[in-house]
Point group: C2
Chain length 351, copies 2
DNA sequence: CTTAGCACTCTTTATGCTCGTCTGCTAAAT
DNA sequence: ATTTAGCAGACGAGCATAAAGAGTGCTAAG
């Protein structure tokens, strides 16, 4: 059934007001700040029918109204005001991404951090599936005496690099040759493929067997380590929210954040593109009530992963959406071969 | 004035009991669990004099006794039982360090994380002073088309590496030559020296001017970024502690953790070696009461930084000391040219 | 010096009470 | 038919009071 315009206005008033104050909204509040032309009695009548319709709740008889998840859903879909980032918010984002960021892990951490800082909620970021990353390039560089660095470049960015011990007397040339050999063998394959297949498929010669094995090892442990690893930043920010004024509630929420097996289903979204807003998702099981807003991160058009916020159902969706939209754009602009606007890049003069 | 053996036993009983339960300790408790041979009245007499001496406190007249900071200090110095890590605790530590860890930042994060996991408090780790790190080696590696990776190896380990954009047509040889030239110029100098000095000192020829400038830039921004940066892991663990059952207290503590300017003086310890236990340090100013235990991390005998825990004054010092001692040893064993016992390293066969 | 016993202090918990807020309903007004 | 004013009723927040329980301090005896 369609809602009258007035009913929608009242829902918006309740949600806006409740987001701001976290206190049940009375008919007088609505009259004063949102609909001065109506009497409180009329508003009360509307409130009563909206409650019957499932949009509002009443903690007890003599209390104001509180929005239900249904009301929030309608709000984000239709009623929410558009909002632009303020100057200072833009500055915060720029500050975080004004550096040279290489590793995927760093991108995730920075993203989660900046989101948390602006929204005052917990920022989350994660890679959808490392196994799907396509290897572009593998470099092995000798560092000091007996250690070497393995750098694996994928379409998602530079994977965390790993050192390995090597015999002192191996020459630079060997590493160079090994690098280009391995690059030739792996390039174009996904990490998943490389992990699963054995040396025969890649036609590895005896000479580079050892390097091959080592790199497979590194990839395998990387895949295991990062499987569904979610980066969380600013979880303590949740304490600022009045819904967690009770330490028990706060603990329950932290438990959810710390348990990856419970958290992941809550985060997952159907759509692989754009923003996803999940309000009180069923997947959360007996975990505490929460809402999750995520944006899809891309790099050169490739889906890297997701970033967003998690927090109580009462959150400033309007602000969060504008932040995430901006971050989505910014992160997509970061990449190994980017052309960023500002002086973020210093071209190195050729020889 | 010297304490009688019995007084010490009673202090130990109070501290042990209070660490365990976080509840004021009554004379009956002490009799039952620690000194059954004495009567509660005798114990009460002792408790009264210990309170006068400043070792104990009484929340109110009809409550049991609570140890003062003085009592904790005596406890860690003299009364604390020795404790070995349990099998499962050892396993946790091994799990964290069983990987190839390259970057300093990763060492810090892992260390803080494992400490937090075992102690159920907030783990901290930080580098004493990046500017004092001595550069060993600088490598510039071309990755894909127009991006290159700069790897700076110091005596502390591999610094976070940074990418830079380069013209497409630069050849590998140029990077190789630039790497060895820059290594020749910087090797043996500290990061601080390199940041402060200009090109003349390093006799940079025109040819490598651009690389030189870029690397200086990277180092400078690194030094600024990491100045006094403290890695914190598991801050939400603090909520498990009953002293933060009140959200206000918890928030105050989180504020301390988030403010580097307030946190650093609390962490700093006089001694540059071994374990430091600071109980209710004066430096904390008007920040909430806390205790900090830190160990010095070394790498090839070089002082890297500190790692430890921060939490309420009531913490299981005995356990923490044993954990930190073990971690101190383990981390010192990690290094680019290490000879670790187990199969953590796979030697790569020569050519 | 140690101990038993008892009075005393102070917190904790439960109970009852008042006050203010906000609603729901009814009847009148538009 | 909708809106509004007015009023009774419901409920929580806050406060005082009372009773119960825990643990001490003190005194006097062992």
């Amino acid at each position: 059934m369609a809602l009258s315009e007035r009913k929608e206005k009242i829902i918006k008033a309740v949600v806006d007001s409740y987001i701001d104050s976290c206190e049940p909204v009375s008919s007088a509040d609505i009259k004063e700040y949102h609909l001065p032309s109506l009497s409180t009695a009329t508003i009360r009548n509307e409130l009563a029918t909206l409650e019957e319709m499932g949009y509002l709740d009443q903690p007890h008889t003599s209390a104001g109204r509180v929005p239900t998840a249904e009301a929030y859903k309608l709000y984000v879909e239709k009623l929410m005001p558009e909002r632009k980032l303020t100057k200072s918010e833009l500055d915060i984002v720029r500050k975080y991404f004004d550096h040279k960021i290489t590793e995927i892990g760093d991108v995730l951490r920075s993203t989660a951090k900046v989101i948390s800082e602006i929204t005052n909620l917990t920022g989350i970021a994660y890679i959808s599936d490392v196994r799907r990353a396509v290897i572009d390039n593998v470099k092995i560089v000798k560092l000091t005496g007996n250690s070497a660095l393995v750098i694996i470049v994928t379409n998602l960015g530079v994977l965390k690099d790993a050192t390995l011990s090597v015999a002192e007397d191996i020459k630079d040339e060997y590493f160079r040759a090994a690098s280009s050999f391995i690059t030739g063998a792996f390039s174009g394959h996904t990490i998943g493929e490389v992990c699963d297949c054995d040396e025969l498929v890649f036609k590895i010669t005896e000479e580079y067997k050892a390097v091959f094995d080592t790199i497979i090892e590194i990839l395998k442990s990387y895949v295991i380590d990062e499987r569904g690893k979610v980066v969380l930043e600013g979880s303590s920010k949740l304490l600022e929210q009045p819904e967690y004024a009770d330490v028990g509630k706060a603990k329950a929420m932290f438990r959810l954040l710390e348990s990856e097996s419970e958290l992941l289903p809550v985060l997952e979204s159907r759509d692989d593109i754009g923003l996803s807003i999940k309000i009180a998702p069923e997947e959360s099981g007996n975990a505490p009530e929460c809402a999750v807003v995520t944006a899809t991160l891309t790099n050169n058009g490739v889906n890297i992963g997701k970033a967003g916020v998690i927090g109580p159902i009462r959150m400033d969706y309007s602000k969060i959406v504008s932040v995430l939209e901006y971050i989505e754009k910014t992160v997509s602009g970061l990449s190994t071969n980017d052309k960023r606007e500002k002086n973020n890049d210093k071209e190195m003069a050729g020889e």
